[in-house]
Symmetry: C2
Subunit: 252 residues, 2 copies
């Protein structure tokens, strides 16, 4: 069997500043090649798959600082290629500040995720200095008695491979689950950060505005305030916070 690995690499960057009097906004980013394929790596029978994934990331970005977890394994003949019959996908979160290299064939795309009010349709925009596409993923619910199965498919024609779109959709779902149940949000940020930065990470991933007062209370046990303060713009400077290392939660 031909088996390959796949990487969904998320990161964040700043939007262009539109108004000096307003907070610098963040945007979510994703690594793809020019044909909207995820970075992939070969799996051999000598090494541990997870280590091969890590090696690949280190080879791409020349850094070993990132978050990684296995996402899912895909094996549907409908999506087989000449190189991959089975594909193991890993979810990766990077802080762009840690990147020391960027190969020519890969690029960061801004990714905008928007869930339609209908609930079974998700709109994705992938955007770059060079190119931009937009497509929809439809979710069909299959129920028999108490069992529920979700089937995802690409709506209409789009210049992205359907399996890539489905993998990415699954990755976004996992990312949203992880950000609400673990502390992966910190993997996007520097060691020190403002609470508004952290909140923006939550907002762009969940596609939802949060109330600052409530957000602060919720994440309070996860962070520690430092004495340092940063002036961002024409408003009150914010304290810098760090992750509270004594915070422990037993997630899956």
């Amino acid at each position: 069997m031909k088996i390959q690995g796949n990487l969904i690499i998320f990161s964040t960057d700043n939007e262009e500043r539109k108004d000096v009097r307003r907070l610098q906004e963040k945007k979510l980013q994703l690594v793809l090649d020019a044909n909207y394929n995820l970075p992939s790596f070969e799996i051999n029978s000598k090494e541990y798959i997870k280590e091969l994934a890590e090696k690949k990331i280190e080879e791409i970005f020349k850094t070993s600082t990132f978050y990684i977890e296995q996402l899912y394994t895909w094996g549907d003949p409908a999506y087989y290629t000449k190189d991959a019959e089975v594909t193991v996908t890993y979810l990766v979160i990077m802080n762009k500040k840690n990147i020391h290299n960027m190969p020519d064939n890969l690029q960061f795309y801004d990714i905008y995720i928007e869930n339609k009010e209908s609930g079974n349709l998700q709109n994705i925009v992938l955007n770059n200095e060079k190119q931009k596409i937009e497509y929809q993923i439809e979710t069909i619910v299959k129920r028999n008695r108490q069992n529920v199965e979700y089937i995802h498919q690409l709506v209409g024609d789009a210049p992205i491979r359907e399996l890539t779109a489905i993998i990415l959709h699954t990755g976004i779902k996992r990312l949203r689950n992880r950000i609400e149940n673990t502390n992966i949000a910190f993997s996007f940020l520097d060691k020190e950060f403002a609470l508004s930065e952290l909140q923006q990470i939550y907002e762009i991933i969940l596609d939802k505005k949060l109330v600052p007062a409530n957000f602060r209370k919720k994440i309070e046990p996860m962070v520690k305030k430092t004495e340092r303060v940063v002036k961002e713009s024409a408003y009150r400077p914010s304290s810098q916070y760090t992750f509270n290392e004594s915070f422990i939660r037993n997630w899956v």
Copy 2:
């Protein structure tokens, strides 16, 4: 690459009745062969892996009524065998009432899961008319900054393959997560059931006694009461309930 599929099949059965005046107790069960290996199946390049898993289950039990989800993909040279370098594991839940066949090489083992108060040690007992083993899985927490990684290993010597024990441990973790966040519990039960039966499913999976009054309130939106009543023993008969099909929760 040599790639195989694997099945963690959970079910429940009744304990032997010790006292006619007490409620019939349930126990969790797991399908293994006589050497404590999980049932496995071949993966070919012609069919969808999930359908191969389903086919295998149908071949074993002659039924197509069960719950199935992909658990994890294992690919560590330390655990390679001559038949499997990569193993894709599926988690399956069966109601024993739906089983119409049982091959000679496979058996149901009673499985008792006990989390030691220390928290990083789990005791597992596998028990059968023919054989019984007991072993411990130790969980080591590896932290660097905010990232947490859990590494599981078999303590000492036990007549079970370490990878099997690790896979099973991961399956139990997933099962516990699923029972608290989805409605898989109903997959263990008949169409109609008593609330105490449902509660027992939760209790044996979570290894925790629950307060009936609170449990009823928690699962109330998920169930519908029928007019039927069942007399179990020397106490008040219980109403039969069914899954409330209009109950919807958006889980991962």
